[in-house]
């Protein structure tokens, strides 16, 4: 009962946030509603027992990635979204596309997923067990992602630095 109540409340907050992301025209409002979605998703993870995933969700997603978004919005001083010709076409294609997509997803889910109940905290994702998997069974993927992150850092630095400043450092060297 408690499980169902918590699930429903945070699921509704989640969906409301997602819809608000679509409705809002100013990117900062969209970003904040996405933060709300991520926060309530963390609660859903907790309900499923994935406590470590929930914590990382808040720290990495809500606390780092979304702060980056908000930072860029502030930096570029992005205004409200402007309507252009493309947006009408996009709306006409987008909404039916979404409807088709969600009906398809719903059909697949109804057809193929089991309806067995999940207990509160069904699979406790203790940090130790997850570390065991991450650093033993999935060691190679883990190392590969570290290289990916390294490349991403270098790419971000190169892309975001001004061309003049690169020239300047070249001359200095």
């Amino acid at each position: 009962m408690l499980h169902l109540v918590l699930f429903t409340v945070f699921g509704l907050i989640c969906v409301a946030g997602a819809i608000n992301l679509l409705v809002q025209t100013h990117p900062i409002n969209s970003a904040l509603s996405l933060v709300v979605v991520m926060g309530s998703l963390a609660v859903e993870y907790l309900l499923l027992g994935a406590e470590f995933v929930a914590a990382v969700q808040v720290i990495v997603y809500a606390g780092a990635i979304m702060v980056l978004f908000v930072f860029v919005i502030m930096l570029l001083n992005a205004g409200a979204e402007e309507r252009s010709k493309g947006s009408i076409v996009a709306l006409m294609l987008g909404v039916p596309g979404m409807l088709v997509g969600s009906i398809l997803t719903a059909w697949v889910l109804v057809k193929h997923s089991g309806t067995q109940p999940v207990a509160l905290g069904a699979l406790p994702g203790h940090p130790k067990d997850i570390a065991q998997l991450l650093f033993h069974d999935f060691l190679l993927p883990f190392e590969v992602t570290s290289i990916l992150v390294l490349i991403a850092i270098m790419g971000a630095v190169v892309l975001a630095s001004r061309p003049e400043s690169i020239e300047k450092t070249k001359k200095e060297n």
């Binding site: 994935a50 699979l123 992602t145």
Partner: protein, 100 residues
């Protein structure tokens, strides 16, 4: 007890919202956020399936998704800044040439 089905429906709704946002939004930052929303929806179904099959690897996979999302956000936002510097717009309709 909540049926697993509910979690999957929630993740499906989030994913559909993400797809819609990706299609109807014109602001490049919001489009980016829609992608994150889709990834979040997928993550929820990973965790839900992990609970169903009693396999922690589903939760571990969420980490990989998060790492990829973080890398993508870093590079993507850098690209957005670079584009904004030359074009002074965030509207994707005005950024339709294959060069900066």
């Amino acid at each position: 007890m909540v049926p697993l089905f509910y979690y999957l429906v929630l993740s499906g709704i989030l994913f559909a919202c993400g797809v819609t946002g990706f299609l109807i939004k014109r602001n490049i930052i919001t489009i980016f956020m829609s992608i994150e929303l889709m990834l979040n929806g997928v993550n929820l179904s990973f965790v839900a399936f992990a609970a169903q099959w009693h396999a922690l690897s589903g939760q571990v996979f969420v980490f990989f998704v998060m790492v990829v999302a973080a890398a993508e956000a870093a590079v993507g936002l850098a690209i957005i800044i670079a584009v904004f510097r030359t074009r002074e717009t965030l509207n994707v309709d005005k950024v339709d040439l294959l060069k900066l």
